[in-house]
C-alpha cells in the first residue's frame, strides 16, 4: 500500500500546528450538559427583573453576551474541533469573524449614531 506521511500531534507544519486527537463521546456529552445549563441560566436571568430583582436589568445584556460567547466557543472548539484541528482553520474562521464584527460595529454606529442624528 502506498502511504503518505502527515505530521502527528502538535507538530509545526508550514507555520501552522497540526491536528490533535478529537475528544470522545464522554467529552461530547459533558459539553452538551454544560450547553444546556448555560441556556437554562440565560432564560432564568431574563426573568430576574420580574422576580423582584429590577437592579439586575442593566447587567442582563452583558451577561447574555458572555454566556453566548461561552456557548459559541464550546461548540466551535469541541464539536467543530477547532481546538484540536490544524490552527489554520481557526485563523481562517477568526479572520472572517473579525471582518463580520468590524462591519457590524460600523453598521450599528452608522444607524444608531449618525443616521438618526443621535
Amino acid at each position: 500500500m502506498v502511504t503518505q506521511e502527515v505530521p502527528a500531534h502538535g507538530a509545526d507544519h508550514g507555520g501552522h500546528t497540526e491536528a490533535h486527537a478529537h475528544p470522545g463521546p464522554k467529552t461530547y456529552i459533558q459539553i452538551a450538559v454544560i450547553l444546556a445549563i448555560i441556556t437554562a441560566i440565560e432564560v432564568f436571568i431574563l426573568y430576574l427583573p420580574e422576580m423582584g430583582f429590577g437592579a439586575a436589568r442593566p447587567f442582563l445584556v452583558p451577561a447574555f453576551i458572555i454566556l453566548s460567547v461561552l456557548k459559541f466557543v464550546l461548540v466551535v472548539g469541541w464539536y467543530m474541533h477547532l481546538k484540536f484541528d490544524d490552527s489554520f482553520y481557526l485563523r481562517m474562521f477568526a479572520f472572517s469573524l473579525i471582518i463580520a464584527l468590524t462591519l457590524a460595529t460600523g453598521f450599528i454606529a452608522l444607524f444608531h449614531g449618525i443616521h438618526l442624528g443621535l
Binding site: V2, L35, L103
Partner: protein
C-alpha cells in the same frame, strides 16, 4: 484505512491512489491533503462557513439597525417602520428556549454520529444521523408554528414593519439552512444504509457535521441577539 506511526513520529496514511480497503474504491471521504498539509475538502467547508459568517452577520445587523429606536424614527416621520407589534410583545421565550435546546441536542447527536463513524460503529452511526435530522425537523416544526402564530395571532408578517421584515428574513434564512442540513444528513443516512461509511470515509460525516454545528452556532447568536436582548431591554 490502515494507519501507522513512522520512526519520526508522523502518521502514515494511505495515499489517494491506493486500493481502498472498504471495497468501494470511489475515494469519497478520503483525506485530500494539499501542499499545505491541510485537508482541502475541510478547508473548502471552512471557507464556506467563513462566507456564511458575513452573510448572517449582515442579516443580524439589519435586525439590530433600528431596534429600540421607534421613538427617534417617529420624530423623523418614519413611524410606519415600527407600526405594529414590537419584539418583546410577541416573543414566547420559554417556547424558543426549548427550540434552542433541541438544536443544541442535535449538535450532540451529530458529533456522536462522527465518533461512531470513526469507530466503525455502523448501527450507532445511522441512529445518530437519523436522530440529528429528526431533531432538526422538530426545530423546523417549532419555527413553522412560531411563524404562523406571529402571522395569525400577532398580525406580524414580512410587510408589517421593519421588525417583521428583518426577523422573518433572518430566522427564515436560518431555517432554510437547517432544512438543507437535514436533507444532507438523511442522504448520508441513506448512503450509509446502502454502502456503509467506514472510518476511511468518516470525513464525509465530519464535513456535514461542520455545516450542522455552524447552523447551531448561528442559532446561539440569534437566540441571544434577536430573542433575549430585545425582551431584556423591552424593545
Amino acid at each position: 484505512m490502515a494507519t501507522a506511526i513512522s520512526e519520526q513520529g508522523h502518521i502514515l496514511q494511505p495515499a489517494h491512489d491506493d486500493g481502498h480497503d472498504d471495497g468501494h474504491g470511489d475515494g469519497h471521504g478520503e483525506s485530500h491533503a494539499g501542499s499545505m498539509g491541510l485537508d482541502m475538502v475541510k478547508l473548502l467547508m471552512w471557507t464556506f462557513i467563513a462566507s456564511e459568517c458575513l452573510l448572517f452577520g449582515t442579516l443580524i445587523m439589519s435586525f439590530l439597525a433600528y431596534l429600540g429606536r421607534h421613538e427617534q424614527l417617529a420624530a423623523h416621520g418614519l413611524e410606519a417602520m415600527w407600526k405594529g407589534p414590537l419584539p418583546h410583545e410577541v416573543y414566547d421565550i420559554p417556547y424558543t428556549s426549548v427550540s434552542a435546546f433541541v438544536l443544541l441536542l442535535s449538535s450532540l447527536t451529530m458529533v456522536l454520529a462522527l465518533a461512531a463513524a470513526q469507530a466503525n460503529q455502523q448501527r450507532q452511526l445511522r441512529i445518530w444521523l437519523v436522530a440529528t435530522a429528526l431533531l432538526g425537523t422538530v426545530f423546523l416544526g417549532g419555527q413553522f408554528f412560531e411563524f404562523t402564530t406571529f402571522k395569525t395571532h400577532e398580525n406580524l408578517w414580512f410587510d408589517t414593519n421593519q421588525f417583521g421584515s428583518t426577523f422573518f428574513l433572518l430566522t427564515g434564512f436560518h431555517g432554510a439552512h437547517v432544512t438543507v442540513g437535514a436533507i444532507w444528513l438523511l442522504s448520508l443516512w441513506l448512503y450509509s444504509l446502502r454502502y456503509g461509511i467506514p472510518p476511511s470515509k468518516a470525513r464525509i460525516v465530519e464535513i456535514a457535521g461542520l455545516y450542522w454545528h455552524f447552523v447551531d452556532v448561528v442559532w446561539i447568536v440569534i437566540f441571544t441577539v434577536v430573542y433575549l436582548t430585545p425582551v431584556a431591554l423591552q424593545f
